[in-house]
């Protein structure tokens, strides 16, 4: 690694002050699993590293009035071990579990994973499918925006120098929304996604139709994308295996994958169709299980 300065922030206020002071000359170190690799490959040559990994206030998982708040420094392992998330959002647990391996999940943070903005990130689709938003802090104060707006392009976020991602919020109305995460990689352990999919919907039990369906796709576009046509198709549809398969086919048409050495665009489209179908089926299974729980 090229030489750089290093400063460890004591708390959020300190971190924001440091980021305000150093601006574009600084890179933020959270879990470090991506940043250190980039520093070693000289992708970035920052003058200073602002280490925010000690900000305890960003390591909490809590349900507040407006929804579930997950601190940006919550690690993937923390998500896997969180009773709240395990109960409400097994899809987020599945996404976290699919990232890297134990060692990188212990280091890597949710916020860090999102701001890498790599097309194949696993946290993104699961959260987008739940209409997550994020809080960003800077010397100018805090602001809230939809997570979707964070993603601008491959490795490019809408964050400006001096901005710090503080937390991720799943809105109140989506707490407990049946959701699922599906991923396909080139192997089972330490796999990067060739395609990943997050899906969620409510079920109107009286009419037995799908309501507010969300389908988010990863690794098939410059950033995580929604599949609006597939969502529109599903909205109000009666649940059936055929409908889910058709939604998968529609989503596959919407996906904009590229061909690279890992897979061809055609194959990625095939995977989208299959994974969307499976994610929807898993979300439905989740809904059914949850209902049984409630009845019992």
């Amino acid at each position: 690694m090229k030489a750089f300065g290093y400063v460890s922030a004591k708390d959020l206020e300190h971190a924001i002050a440091l980021l305000g002071e150093h601006g574009a000359r600084a890179k933020i170190l959270a879990g470090g699993t991506d940043l250190l690799v980039e520093l070693k490959h000289a992708v970035h040559n920052p003058e200073v590293i602002v280490d925010v990994s000690r900000l305890h206030e960003l390591k909490t998982i809590a349900v507040a009035d407006d929804g579930l708040h997950i601190g940006a420094l919550v690690t993937h392992s923390d998500i896997m071990n969180s009773p709240v998330i395990r109960d409400m959002f097994p899809a987020l647990v599945a996404a976290a579990h699919s990232i890297g391996a134990m060692q990188t999940r212990n280091l890597g943070t949710l916020g860090g994973n999102l701001v890498t903005c790599v097309p194949s990130m696993d946290s993104g689709p699961a959260l987008i499918a739940l209409d997550a938003s994020v809080t960003v802090a800077s010397t100018e104060g805090q602001r809230r925006m939809p997570l979707f707006e964070l993603f601008v392009g491959p490795r490019k976020t809408s964050l400006k120098p001096g901005d710090l991602l503080v937390d991720i919020i799943i809105p109140k109305e989506n707490l407990g929304k049946p959701a699922a995460f599906e991923k396909f990689g080139l192997r089972k352990g330490q796999a990067l996604a060739l395609v990943n999919v997050g899906a969620s919907f409510w079920i109107d039990r009286e009419k037995s139709v799908l309501v507010a369906p969300r389908i988010a796709l990863g690794a098939v576009a410059p950033t995580v994308m929604r599949a609006p046509k597939a969502e529109a198709f599903l909205d109000g549809c009666k649940i059936s295996a055929e409908v889910m398969a058709e939604a998968g086919r529609i989503a596959a048409m919407e996906a904009k994958p590229i061909s690279d050495f890992r897979a061809s665009a055609d194959y990625r489209r095939d995977l989208v169709a299959v994974l969307v179908k499976r994610a929807l089926a898993n979300a439905q299974a989740r809904a059914t299980a949850k209902e049984k729980e409630l009845v019992a």
């Binding site: 690694m1 090229k2 030489a3 750089f4 300065g5 290093y6 460890s8 170190l29 470090g32 699993t33 250190l36 690799v37 520093l39 070693k40 590293i49 280490d51 990994s53 392992s77 890297g100 391996a101 134990m102 060692q103 990188t104 212990n106 280091l107 089972k188 352990g189 330490q190």
Partner: protein, 171 residues
């Protein structure tokens, strides 16, 4: 330069290093704890695995400064003078390591697993070891060894054997 102080294998150690020093470099070059290995330098192979505050991490992906004030367990701290850790005994007895280069990392991943779960399933063991690449063993005997170690540890906790153990990670 960054001044760091941390507890390594139960001892407080300090050093003054350039900020770009990784925890792995600090351990190997400054503290002469060469058990953790450099295999890929980017967190793919797990040969550099150490336990920080009870959690297995890739020491090549941490800056030395991040380890300030933390408790580090390296392979050198797993055994004590009187006592081989059951994981070490089990790996030795079942021939679970061949060239041994991945070994320190694998053993510490196994320790992190068994600290949380004394009765892991085969799938849970495979999951815990999936961050440690091994080219020699096909992982088969490693998985057997972790199962053996879990059994040894369960027996030990059942019989309340109070060995004078100096466990570096004890809070």
């Amino acid at each position: 330069m960054t001044d760091v102080t941390m507890i390594v294998n139960g001892q407080v150690r300090g050093a003054s290093v350039p900020p770009e020093t990784t925890l792995l470099q600090l351990l190997r070059d400054n503290f002469n704890l060469t058990g953790a290995k450099l295999g890929c330098d980017v967190g793919d192979c797990g040969a550099c695995t150490v336990i920080v505050d009870g959690q297995a991490v890739n020491s090549c992906l941490m800056l030395a400064g991040q380890a300030e004030g933390r408790q580090i367990l390296t392979i050198e701290g797993l055994a004590s003078r009187e006592w081989l850790h059951p994981i070490q005994t089990a790996f030795e007895n079942s021939g679970a390591l061949q060239c041994g280069f991945c070994g320190p990392g694998v053993l510490l991943s196994a320790k992190a697993l068994l600290d949380e779960n004394l009765n892991p399933s085969t799938q849970e063991i495979r999951d815990a070891l999936s961050g440690n690449l091994c080219r020699c063993t096909g992982y088969t005997k490693m998985i057997e060894a972790v199962q053996d170690a879990a059994r040894l540890l369960r027996e030990e906790s059942r019989t309340q054997l109070t060995h004078a153990r100096t466990e570096a990670t004890a809070p």
